[in-house]
Symmetry: D2
Subunit: 258 residues, 4 copies
Amino acid sequence: MRPKILVGEQHIVKVRDLEIGNPGKPIIMAGPCSVESREQIFQTAKAVKAAGAHILRGGVFKPRTSPYAFQGMGKEGLLLMREAADAVDMPIVTELMDESNLDLVYKYADIIQIGSRNMFNYSLLKVVGELDKPILLKRGMSATIQEWILAAEYIAASGNKDVILCERGIRTFDTYTRNTLDLAAVPILKMETGLPVIVDPSHGTGIRELVEPMSKAAMACGADGLMIEVHIDPDNALCDGPQSLTPEQFGKLVQAIK
Amino acid sequence: MRPKILVGEQHIVKVRDLEIGNPGKPIIMAGPCSVESREQIFQTAKAVKAAGAHILRGGVFKPRTSPYAFQGMGKEGLLLMREAADAVDMPIVTELMDESNLDLVYKYADIIQIGSRNMFNYSLLKVVGELDKPILLKRGMSATIQEWILAAEYIAASGNKDVILCERGIRTFDTYTRNTLDLAAVPILKMETGLPVIVDPSHGTGIRELVEPMSKAAMACGADGLMIEVHIDPDNALCDGPQSLTPEQFGKLVQAIK
Amino acid sequence: MRPKILVGEQHIVKVRDLEIGNPGKPIIMAGPCSVESREQIFQTAKAVKAAGAHILRGGVFKPRTSPYAFQGMGKEGLLLMREAADAVDMPIVTELMDESNLDLVYKYADIIQIGSRNMFNYSLLKVVGELDKPILLKRGMSATIQEWILAAEYIAASGNKDVILCERGIRTFDTYTRNTLDLAAVPILKMETGLPVIVDPSHGTGIRELVEPMSKAAMACGADGLMIEVHIDPDNALCDGPQSLTPEQFGKLVQAIK
Amino acid sequence: MRPKILVGEQHIVKVRDLEIGNPGKPIIMAGPCSVESREQIFQTAKAVKAAGAHILRGGVFKPRTSPYAFQGMGKEGLLLMREAADAVDMPIVTELMDESNLDLVYKYADIIQIGSRNMFNYSLLKVVGELDKPILLKRGMSATIQEWILAAEYIAASGNKDVILCERGIRTFDTYTRNTLDLAAVPILKMETGLPVIVDPSHGTGIRELVEPMSKAAMACGADGLMIEVHIDPDNALCDGPQSLTPEQFGKLVQAIK
């Protein structure tokens, strides 16, 4: 099973005046796991922009393992995030969980994220394949590289070639880290598809102290960008606190990358 | 993260006059991977009924790894399958891939299957949680048992406790079998949730010769039923031929189980 | 890479008057994880014999993850185990960890076990391949079935065809059980090698309550025997207490298997 | 289970005038999978020395999956390798498979390698723990980081603290690469043990084209060195040809690292 459309030619995805996939110009997406409040997202947007982030990330529709866990702020969160990003003139990326929120997410987001749990959701891939906005496709937690490429091909086959691939770790036997970050996927995907590849070391390790070394490693093997979780108060974050950087730590990371 | 609703009390799911989860009375679901033609599904329905199957299985909306692979017959296939099952007076189980086909599948299917690739699709789980028909929830290919139970809890938390769990193998390093059938999940799920648990040794191994021994093993450790792929001409099946039994082989399996 | 010697012909391994690999006559090996004291091993030997076990198992040289954990009673434990087994007229199986104890283990054991951690220790496999006593070869925790067969072939290629294969679970992402018991390996190994295959549901699950259902499943898919951990006082066992049965529970298991 | 001796203090391992673990001064080990002939090892030694390698690697006792595969040149190979290394004034690292060759390997090697298949061979770890030469401990193919650290602790607890850890990829479900290189292990091991950590991207990926990007990534996240397979004629190598660099490719890699 080979892709027909995504076959190794270099492809740059444009978001406003940003170019994702331009060698030597890494794009950094940063922000909280979840939008939690007006104050939190405005402060975060301002801080990550000042530190050098290019795109604001944040979840408003959250796929959580337990039905009793915080499920995200929904539309209200999306509007807050849009407002906060506009205040500092940043594009935003946020996850679309299902078709029912398609119009909403399409209207307010600049990049639409398909999360790990939906990478095999071919119906959703076909739907976003009909859009004219870039799609950030996270790797499924146990997806082979071949399956991941073919998931991207589903999007391309529906008409949308603006796919950004995001390595975020795979599931293995080890329990020290939350996931096992598979950085070899970066050069493989560049060879096989030509698509921009970014790395999420926050989910990929689950451990704050590992975010900087793994960000450097990602850059060194050819990643086109990073997705980093940043929270103004990680100890009180509603989700993913242990893997979130403070704005100050994030600032140091951006400097280290440059 | 603990379930609140699904907490270990024995629960029987009723489908017409069948009881799924009744100790000592295993329920056998059988049929092709995909509905391929009127002749194929009518012949199969007749054959599996004669051999002792209780429920006809068959896919019409197929989640395939490649966008260029056969994607199923869709509505036409569903109507054919319904007709074939009615001709031999059997209930049917078929997969729902997304909300767009909900009304259709709800109307014609007796049990609605959520496939492995959608086990983490919490939006879809909430949607089928509002239905008054039984849901067959396959284990995600890399879902922990805990995550699987909580996926079932999503359905229950939306109002539908009629969930049947189906072990179909997990993804491991070994390549001899298509998946690694995790039979210990059967007694664990019975202890933890009380829900009916069935086993799919066809996907769980991917190898025809292993279907009978693993069916026996599933029964021996307490499974409430089996889901078996049967094809009238496995060598020419549009999908999953190598793991499909002929009707004759299936007949021998049913006898062996009894 | 194919085996040349172990190629599917049915092979029965004889230990005194026992035949391992004789269809319909399962052999049960039972005993403690570790020999801990004279009283413990004598009581256990008597109890498992009375309950129907055929062979006494017990570790005296223990491969432990930490260098600071109990490493087994060594020679003293082996002599105690031999004495206890003789008192009830049972053969014994115990693990050989390295060549330095070869003469000792060869002298006192009836079956020599190669543990999971040594399945890839080809030097040791060659050494035991030169012996005229049966070898019980446990599957490596991440060994493919193919690699396991070739490990057995190492033993056979050195001259010893009396190999008993023991499935004891593989390492996967799931954390509910200690290992994932891969029962499909049983019929595969019978087809591929013809060697006797036994199953260790104690290590294979790590959970006492799962030992009986998984023992039944093992029998149902064609296993030639079982290896079960039994301890007279599991709560105070020096290792593997949570997966050990009491003699009473073991007695019920033996009855259930028959 | 915590280590007692290896607890995070920075430790440098000295081999002749080389310091392994000195920040900013990466050590490069290079050479063939196997010593195959006098000409091959002499040419290779000369070439890798010229390209900038510090230590010559090469296998003479080879743990192979099949008993019928090439098992290494043994003592003859070791003597050739020693001679070739002396001709260009390099230390050598080679694998010790078992105690029977201990004196030989101790006499001729500068660093003694314990391979992946023997990481759990605690008897062998204790034996090399009594030596006064550095030990290169490769990660077991399914060893958790915690188990790996405790394996190193076995060596240290026997008296030898000069352990170099080598990440060489772990076994996962993906089949694109030979193993999944777990680079997050590098900063984790540096934090937890203070030991030098090197990376083997040749085994870690199994694909020649990935050796350079993953070498750069290893350096970027803090590795103290690399182990690289180099062969003068990869297409005719007796093992691991597809992952071996030519001397010319290796020269480019060394430049890229600097």
